[in-house]
Every structure is written in C-alpha cells, then in structure tokens.
C-alpha cells in the first residue's frame, strides 16, 4: 500500500514538475521579450502556449551527434547526473499541508527530519555533472567553461549553506515541515523574511542560489558570447535538452526552498486573521495555492533579474562570492544567534 | 761474647766509595789522584780482611755474623736482610779477592797509563771489587745474587771498556746475556728454596736441614741442578763458556782480575758454600764432576791450537775451572777451594805477564809473531816461567799440590772417580804441553816480529822493552805466591776449612797410593814439557808439519769446534726469526689488528645491507608498510585469534 501510494505521488509530482519546467522556459522567453519590448514566442498555440511542447519535440527529433574525440562513457553520463540531481531535490520538498492519509503525507513525497541537509547534498553532487561534461567533450572552451562553472558552484555552495544556518537556528530543527510550522504561527509577521529577522539571510541565499544555478548575473560559464555555450557546446538534441531541463529544474527547486525557508512555505500571508473556510477542499487547496504563488513569484524574480542585470566578469564573480557573500553569511549567523540568545 | 768490631760491611763499602768518587768526579780529577783513590780503597779493604784473618789466627771463633742487619725485603711471610757473614771459606775467598785484586789494581795503574777514559776503568774495577766482596760476604742467597749479577754487570762494563770497538761491545753483551742465563737458573733455585724453606739465609737453611731433614732427595737434586746451572753460567763451564774467550776483548788487567782470579771462581765458591744441599743430592755432584772433567779436557784441546796469547790463557782458565768443578763433584770441596786459591795466584800472574808482554810489544797479541823476549824482558820471563811451572803441576809449585789433591780425591771416589782421574791426568798432560808451547813461542827462539806478517806494523816492534817497575812488582809478588802458595798443603787447608765445608775431605789413605799419584802427576807434566820442547824447542817447522798431518783435527780445534756458530744458528737465529715472523706477523698483524678489522668489516657489511633497503621505490616502501601493518595486527589480535583473553597471555604462550 505504501509503495503504490508513493509511486502515484511521485508520478504526479514529476509530471507537474516537468510541465512547470517547460512552461518556465516559455515564461522566461515571454518575459525577457516583454522586457526587451518585443512579444516573445506567440506563433505556436494561442499566445505561444504550445511553444515548449514544440521545442521539446524539436530537440527530441534532432540528430544526436557525438563528436569522435569525446570520452564516451563520461560524455553520456554527465547530462544524466545533472538531471537526476536537480530532480532528486524535489522529493524532499513538502509543498502542502501536513495532511495524512493512511499514515501517508499527501503533499510531500517524503518528509525527513534532515531535509535541509539532503538538499545541500544534492546540490554538491550536482557539480559533477557539469565538471565531467566539460572535461569529457575534449574541447578547450568546454573544459574551461566547466571548470569555471564548477568552481563557481562550489564557492557559492558555501555561502548558500551558511545562509540557511540562520533559519535553522530559529526553528531548532533541520526538518522543512518544522521550519514552515514555525513561520505559520501568525502569518506574514512570522515569516522568516520579516518576523524571523532573516532578511539578510534571504538576500544572501538569493544571490548564492542564482550563482548555484548559473543563472542571471552569474551565468558567465555557459554564456554564448563568452565561451560559445560553455560546457554543453558539444552536446546536441536530447543531451542538451537534459542540461537545459536540469538548469530550469534547479531554478524551481531553489524557488521552492526559498519559499519554504523564508516565505513561510504553504502558509497564507494572513495567518489566522482570515480563518480559513472549514471545508476540506479549501483547507487543502489554499496552502497549495499559496505555495505555487510564492514559487511563481521567485521564478518571476529570476527572469526579471536575468533580463536586467549585466553579466559579472569571472574574477569579480569569484571575489564577490568569497569576499562579500561568505563573510556576510557568517555575520548573519552571528547576528541571529546573538538575537536568539538575548531576546 | 764481645763482638769484635769487624766492620764486615765496611770491607764491601770501601771499594763502592772508590767507585762513587772516581765515577762521579773522575773525569775532572788528575790521573794521579784517580789512581791513588783507586788503590787506596782496595788496600784499606785488604787491610781489614788481613786484620780479620789475624784475629781468626788469634783464636776468634768463626762464623761471625752481623747482629742487626738492616732488612731489605720484608713482604708477608718472606723476609730477607743485608746479612754479612764471615766464616773460614769467606775469609779465604776475601784474602784472594782483595789481595790479588789490589795487586792487579797496582799493575793496571801502569798498564792503563796512556789509555783514554782512565778514571772510568778504575771506577769499574772498584765497582767490581765491591760486588765481588758482597757476593762472598753475603749471608743469604738473595744478597749473593746481588753480588752475582753485580759482578756480571762489572764484567760487561769492563769488557766493553774500549767503546770505539764494536767487537768489545758485542763481547760485553754476550758475557752479560750468557751470565743472565746462568742467573735464571740461580733464580729458579732461589724460588725452590723459598718454596721449601720459606727463607734464603744460609744459616737458617742449614739449621732446618740438620734439625729435621724433610727435604726429599728429588727436590734437593732439582735445587742443586739449578744452582749448578747458575755456577756453570758464571764459571764458564761446558754449555755456557762461550763468553769467556770473547771477554779477552777487554784490557788485560780485567782479564786477569775477573776472568782468572775472582769472578769465574764464584761458581765454585757457591757450590762450596751450599755443600749441605749438594751432599743431599749425589746425582747433582756427579753431574758437577762430569761437567768439570769434560770442560777441562775440551778446553785444553782447544787451547793447544790457539794463536792469541790471551785466548790460550782463557781456555786454560776454563780447563782449570773444570778441575775445580771436578774437585767439588767428588766431594773434595776444600781441595777445590785450595786449587781455586792457587789458580788465582798463577793464572793472575800468567795474565799479568802476558799483559806486560803485550804492553812491551805495543799491543801485539799473536804469539806467532813473538819470540826471543827472554833477554829483553827478563823479569817477565822468570815470573812467567814460575807460573808455567806452577800451572803444569811441577813439584814445589802451588799447582802441584792443589791439582794433585783434586786428582787424588777423584781417584778415591769409586769407579767413576777412576775414569774422571784418567781424563784429568790426560788434561794435565795437555795443560803442561800448551803452557810450555806458549812459553817457548813467546820467550825462546828468534824474534819473529816481522817475518810471519806483512810487516805493516813494523814500527811497533822495534823496541820491545821491559815494563815499568809498577807492573813488575805485582808479577814478582804473585810469582812468590805461586811458588810457596801450595806449601800450606791440602791437609792443613782442609782442616782450616772443615767447619765451613762440612765433613773433612776423605781421610788421606795409606801413604803409598798418595805418593804414587803425585809422582805420576809430575811425570805427566815432564812428558808435556818434553813434547813441547820437541815441537817448539829447536826447529819451529816441526809444529807446522804436525799441523799439516793432522789438518782436519787441527782445523776443528782452530775453529773451537764451531761452538759459537752452532749456538748462533741453533738458538739466536730461530728466536729472532720466531719473534719477527711468528709474533710480529702472526701475533701482531693477524690476531691483534685482525680483531679490529673484523669489527670494521661487520659494521660495514650491515651498513651495506641496510642501504639497499632505502631504494627510493615507493612501491617497495608500500609493501614493507603493509607487512608491518600485518605483523602489528597479528600481534595485537593474537589474543582474540588464539582465544586468549588478553595480549599478555598470548605473549606468555608464544614465549613459553
């Protein structure tokens, strides 16, 4: 019984996740278009809504070219690692209320009391995908690109981890559900971002996350103008698609984590001011709605930043990471612990 | 009894004072002062001895011993002191030693007139007298040993007097070393005495022997044989006589004093002194007798062919000593001492006469280039004649009485005695032959100064002159003593010595055998003279053709039976070879240095082995690391593996 239910849950979450990934691509192209005063894809389907389907189809049908000088086993393995890592993190994120049915939690695939740590593990494993891809495609640009990308990811991972410590300090537990429960006490006031005093942590987390996913201002390694596409230049069709999906998957995961940790997860901003209607459906759906809204807000933020901010130079990027973010995160920890101890 | 002031130590110390004075300051004193010192002290010493003799004659009871002698060595139970004792035997010896010694001192003042190192000679002479008197006066063996070796030292110094002549030096060493061989025997004897008697003083030993003679004959014989070895070394008997002929390298007065009168007789005196021991060891006595006779005969044969005047006299001394040993050997100690005394007189005289001949002829010692000195040196001639007659044993002279006494004693000494007597008689014949040969060649016939040799030393010979009076006076005195020395007669002499030499010699048996023996001796002497006359009297060629006919025998005798060469090759060369190669190579280089090289080698080897282990190859390091880990693990887990409950038990198990 447990197995069947969990398989169903996984399937549902996966489908939702993948379609979300596809549509984020579309969303991004539309939004960037709008920022650059143009419309973005509109031809396929009403307002271009079917564009992702078509892109997927295109990438799927393209000829899968494998260059000769490539180190084949790792060349094939790399995209797989990247994709699995980005997908794995979803399994740990609880997106709905802690409703239990037959002892099974409906709105989370699995709820571990060290959920946060697993997230960190997955991000650290993710580095291999990029590192191996660059190296195995036996091309100088891709090697350089992959090295820079993995170096960037490793350094920002530090800042990411440290910024979460503030939140953990406040909730005294690593389990994500507990973190949300703490923030649900009285609505927006108790969200970590406002009530919890973790505003700085949120900003550090945001920047670190952008760097982790090689997005926006930190997307030097695979930027077309710099290193001809960085580590996935040699990849074509499906393998390139995997990388692409992995990248957007990471974006969504980051979004979910941010909502869970800083925006109070599936709790409504109003807290208990407006008592939620009593019937089950609303009780279940409302948190879901709030969770999706917050994630959408983060995605919007991503794309907005990508559209507006210029790209960092690599040495600025590294020095920003090590010389500004890391100390800031440490300061944040000290500040929060002092605050908790004194108040 | 009131202790008459005999000043016994003074007799010895006076010559020592002479030695010290001359030795330390002699080089700066004028010659006259040196000679006065050299003569004064021995004279004083002789005066003291004469006074002692006069007191003995006046009824002083002998033996007289110093009361509180200073102790010399006192360790544990062993105690020996500077003990001087005077008894009849010592008195006789002292008279001879100091008397003849003084005369020879007088003589050498003249003889050494123009020699360099004048003071050194007299210092050594006085030193010799000191040691000789100590030897004779000694009350115990150790003190006698002091004199014994001291005399050897003095003879070494005197023989090696001419320091610019290598042969003199070598002769000195040879004398000293041979004496040391003898002293070795003496030393062993002393140890045996200590082992058996716990003391070395004569009186105590004789007291113990008489009190309870626990000494077994075997032990006694051993002791006596050692003593005999010492005597043989000192008195130049058969095995150890080789040093005496070479000792002629020293100046003639030295030969006279040391190698005729006193030192060589020390051996005989020692045997006489320890007669108590010898009486207990008849075997030792026969050995002494046999050695004596053999030496006498052997030396006589060699003396016949000697050409150097002093060598002849040297061999004759050895042979006469042989007679004394024979005397002692047959138990006639007093006869031996009597012969010793008379021999001192005429042999001293012979040497001094020879000295004055050499002095006259300016250093010429080869009798073949002498002759016709009868007229040029009358006094020397006559005194020499007296001596020759005495030594040959003609009737009125001293030699007859003493030699006859010994031969008589030998004759009565059982069957072996008869044989010894026969040999003794033949030796007597030869003695008179070579003495008269010498006599003829030196004094009679024409002077052959320049004929036989290549005339290079022509200028020496031109004025053979008679020696000055100072040299002639001792000659005359000694001649008198040689003539009337024997008149004391053996009986009165033996009686006098009886207390010192134990039981009187065998009572003289019925007169006629005694008479027959003495007549026979005289006849033998006459025969010897006649043969010498035949060969050397008129035609000198007779000697030469006799030599040709008996060429091989002649050559053997001439080369002194090659004894010296035999000794060198048999003893000296092997020792040196063994020392240089045996010990030098084997001992030093292999054993001692070898052990060090072994150590070095081992350490080097270990170093080499370990070096190879640090090869730099990481993989080998890894392997050894693994082995180490495995071993450690086994050691640690031995307990659990073998079911023991703790590591300690496993160790015990393993160790048991």
């Amino acid at each position: 019984m447990f197995v069947v239910l969990s398989v169903v849950k996984v399937a549902v979450v996966l489908v939702v996740f993948l379609t979300a990934v596809a549509y984020t691509v579309l969303l991004e192209r539309k939004l960037v278009g709008r920022i650059q005063n143009r419309w973005g894809p509109t031809r396929v389907g009403p307002f271009g809504l079917l564009q992702p389907l078509v892109d997927g189809l295109k990438l799927f049908l393209k000829e899968d070219i494998i260059p000769s000088g490539v180190y084949r086993p790792l060349y094939l393995l790399a995209p797989l690692i990247a994709l699995t890592c980005s997908l794995l993190s979803i399994a740990v994120i609880p997106f709905g209320t802690t409703l239990r049915w037959h002892g099974m939690r409906l709105f989370a695939i699995s709820d571990l009391n060290i959920g946060l740590l697993i997230l960190l593990c997955v991000t650290s494993i993710g580095v291999y995908g990029i590192a191996l891809s660059g190296w195995s495609s036996n091309n100088k640009y891709s090697l350089l690109g992959s090295l820079r990308a993995s170096a960037q990811m490793i350094s920002y991972e530090l800042a990411l981890g440290l910024s979460l410590v503030g939140v953990v300090l406040r909730t005294q537990s690593l389990s994500l559900t507990d973190i949300v429960k703490v923030q649900a006490v009285h609505g927006i006031a108790s969200w970590n971002i406002f009530g919890g005093g973790q505003i700085f942590a949120f900003l550090i987390y945001l920047m670190a996350a952008y760097a982790e996913t090689n997005r926006a201002p930190f997307d030097l390694p695979e930027a077309e103008t710099e290193l001809t596409g960085g580590y996935h230049t040699e990849y074509s069709s499906m393998k390139f698609a995997m990388f692409f999906m992995a990248e957007y998957g990471n974006m969504i995961t980051v979004g979910c984590v941010a909502t869970l940790l800083f925006l109070g997860g599936w709790t409504s901003p109003f807290g208990d001011l407006i008592p939620p209607p009593q019937n089950l459906l609303v009780h279940v759906l409302a948190p879901l709605f709030w969770f999706v809204a917050k994630v959408f807000f983060f995605l919007f933020l991503y794309i907005w930043v990508r559209g507006t901010l210029p790209r960092f130079r690599y040495d600025q990027l590294m020095s920003f990471g090590w010389k500004f973010l890391l100390p800031a995160a440490m300061l944040n920890i000290v500040g929060t612990s002092l605050a908790l101890a004194l108040l | 009894m009131n202790e008459p002031m005999l000043f016994l130590p003074l007799i010895a110390l006076l010559p020592l004072a002479g030695f010290l004075l001359n030795g330390l300051f002699g080089s700066r004193l004028p010659k006259a002062l040196v000679s006065t010192i050299a003569l004064l002290f021995p004279l004083l010493s002789f005066a003291l001895v004469a006074r002692a003799a006069w007191m003995v004659h006046a009824g002083l009871a002998l033996p007289v011993a110093e009361a509180n002698a200073p102790t010399w060595i006192a360790v544990g139970t062993f105690h020996v002191g500077f003990q001087f004792v005077l008894d009849q035997l010592t008195l006789v010896m002292l008279l001879v030693v100091t008397g003849v010694g003084f005369l020879i001192h007088l003589y050498s003042v003249g003889y050494m007139e123009h020699e360099s190192g004048y003071w050194r000679f007299f210092a050594y002479l006085n030193l010799f007298l000191f040691f000789m008197t100590v030897l004779v006066l000694a009350g115990n063996f150790l003190l006698m040993f002091v004199g014994w070796e001291g005399v050897g030292l003095a003879s070494y110094l005197l023989i090696g007097f001419y320091i610019d002549r290598k042969s003199a030096g070598d002769a000195g060493i040879k004398a000293f070393v041979t004496n040391r061989v003898g002293d070795f025997g003496f030393l062993i004897a002393m140890f045996l005495l200590i082992a058996h008697f716990g003391t070395l003083s004569f009186s105590r030993i004789t007291a113990q022997l008489s009190a309870h003679p626990t000494l077994t004959t075997g032990a006694a014989t051993l002791i006596c044989l050692c003593l005999v070895l010492g005597a043989v070394g000192k008195s130049a008997q058969i095995p150890l006589y080789v040093w005496l002929p070479d000792a002629m390298e020293g100046p003639t007065p030295v030969s006279a004093l040391i190698h005729a009168a006193t030192m060589v007789t020390a051996g005989v005196y020692m045997i006489a002194r320890t007669h108590a021991l010898f009486d207990l060891a008849p075997a030792a006595l026969t050995v002494v007798a046999v050695i004596g006779t053999a030496t006498a005969f052997f030396a006589a044969t060699v003396a016949i062919v000697q050409t150097d005047i002093k060598r002849v006299l040297a061999y004759s001394t050895i042979s006469q000593l042989g007679y004394m040993f024979l005397g002692c050997g047959v138990g006639a100690y007093s006869a031996a001492v009597f012969h010793l005394m008379t021999h001192a007189f005429f042999k001293g005289l012979l040497f001094l006469a020879a000295g004055s001949v050499i002095h006259g002829l300016g250093g010429e010692q080869d009798i073949r280039r002498m002759g016709g000195l009868r007229k040029t040196m009358p006094v020397t001639f006559w005194t020499m004649t007296a001596a020759v007659l005495a030594i040959s044993g003609f009737f009125p002279f001293a030699g007859f009485f003493s030699k006859d006494a010994i031969l008589a004693a030998a004759f009565q000494h059982g069957s072996t005695g008869k044989l010894l007597w026969m040999v003794g008689l033949v030796t007597a014949l030869m003695t008179s032959f070579y003495m008269f040969r010498l006599w003829y060649l030196t004094f009679l016939g024409q002077s052959r100064a320049h004929s036989a040799s290549d005339g290079h030393d022509h200028e020496h010979h031109h004025h053979a002159h008679e020696s000055p009076w100072i040299m002639l006076l001792p000659l005359v005195l000694l001649a008198l003593l040689s003539v009337c020395g024997g008149w004391i007669g053996i009986d009165r002499f033996a009686a006098f010595l009886a207390p010192a030499t134990g039981m009187a010699s065998a009572a003289p048996n019925a007169g006629h055998t005694e008479l027959f023996l003495s007549v026979l001796a005289v006849l033998v002497a006459a025969l010897g003279w006649f043969v010498a006359h035949l060969f050397f009297g008129r035609r000198t060629s007779a000697a030469d053709d006799a030599a040709q006919r008996l060429a091989p025998l002649h050559r053997v005798l001439e080369h002194k039976y090659w004894i010296d060469e035999i000794y060198t090759s048999l003893i000296i060369r092997p020792i040196q070879w063994f020392a240089r190669f045996g010990l030098g190579w084997l001992g030093e280089l292999t054993l001692v240095r070898g052990s060090v090289w072994l150590l070095v080698g081992v350490t080097g080897l270990c170093g080499e082995l370990l070096r190879r282990w640090q090869s730099g190859n990481l993989r080998s390091y890894a392997a050894w690391l693994a082995i180490g880990a495995a071993a450690l693990l086994i050691f640690a887990l031995a307990g659990t593996l073998l079911g023991m409950n703790s590591l300690a038990d496993s160790i015990h198990w393993a160790v048991r």
Binding site: - | S615, G616, N617, L618, R619, A622, A623, A626, A629
Partner: protein
C-alpha cells in the same frame, strides 16, 4: 520485513574494503590512484567505527568518524597540492619514476 543483519557483516565489509584499499595502495601506478586508495582505506575504517558506535550505542564513535573526515579533508588538500607540484616539476605521476627526494 525488517530482517536484521548481524553486525559483523558490516565489519567484514569494512575489512574487505580496507584490504582492497591496501591492494590499490600496492599495485596502482599513478600517484593519485594511490592517494585515492588511501581515502578508501579511511572510509573502510569509518564504516567499522560507525558499526561499533551502533553496536555499543556510543555517540563518540560517530564523533570520531567526524574527526577522521576533517583530517582526511585536510590531508587531501595538502596531498593534492603536492601532487600538482610534483607533476609540474616532474611531468609524470607514475610512482616508480618519483624516487628522488629532491624534486
């Protein structure tokens, strides 16, 4: 469903891993691989630590593993730095050619 596993299987596994680590340490020719097999050995030991920690309910066992990790991290950092400098100077990493103390 929850069939228990005897503890010494874990130990056997750690022993096996350790031995494989030692073998790697012996036969591998590239310096980095040797270095990796050392890491493997360390992990094997960590496993036995955790097993014993579980067995005797002693948290200290795990703490010790924690420290082992720290040290392993430090060691890896310095080791790799050395390997890089060796490579820069020698141009090769094969163990047999690196046999001079002087770089």
């Amino acid at each position: 469903m929850n069939t228990p596993v005897p503890a010494d299987w874990y130990l056997l596994l750690s022993a096996a891993l350790f031995t494989l680590g030692v073998i790697g340490f012996l036969i591998k020719r590239s310096l980095i691989t040797v270095f990796m097999s050392i890491e493997l050995m360390l992990n094997a030991v960590n496993l036995s630590f955790v097993t014993f920690a579980h067995e005797w309910h002693a948290v200290k066992g795990q703490i010790f593993v924690f420290f082992v990790m720290m040290v392993a991290a430090a060691e890896a950092a310095v080791g790799l730095a050395i390997i890089i400098s060796i490579f820069r100077v020698r141009g090769t990493l094969t163990v047999d050619q690196i046999d001079r103390m002087k770089l």
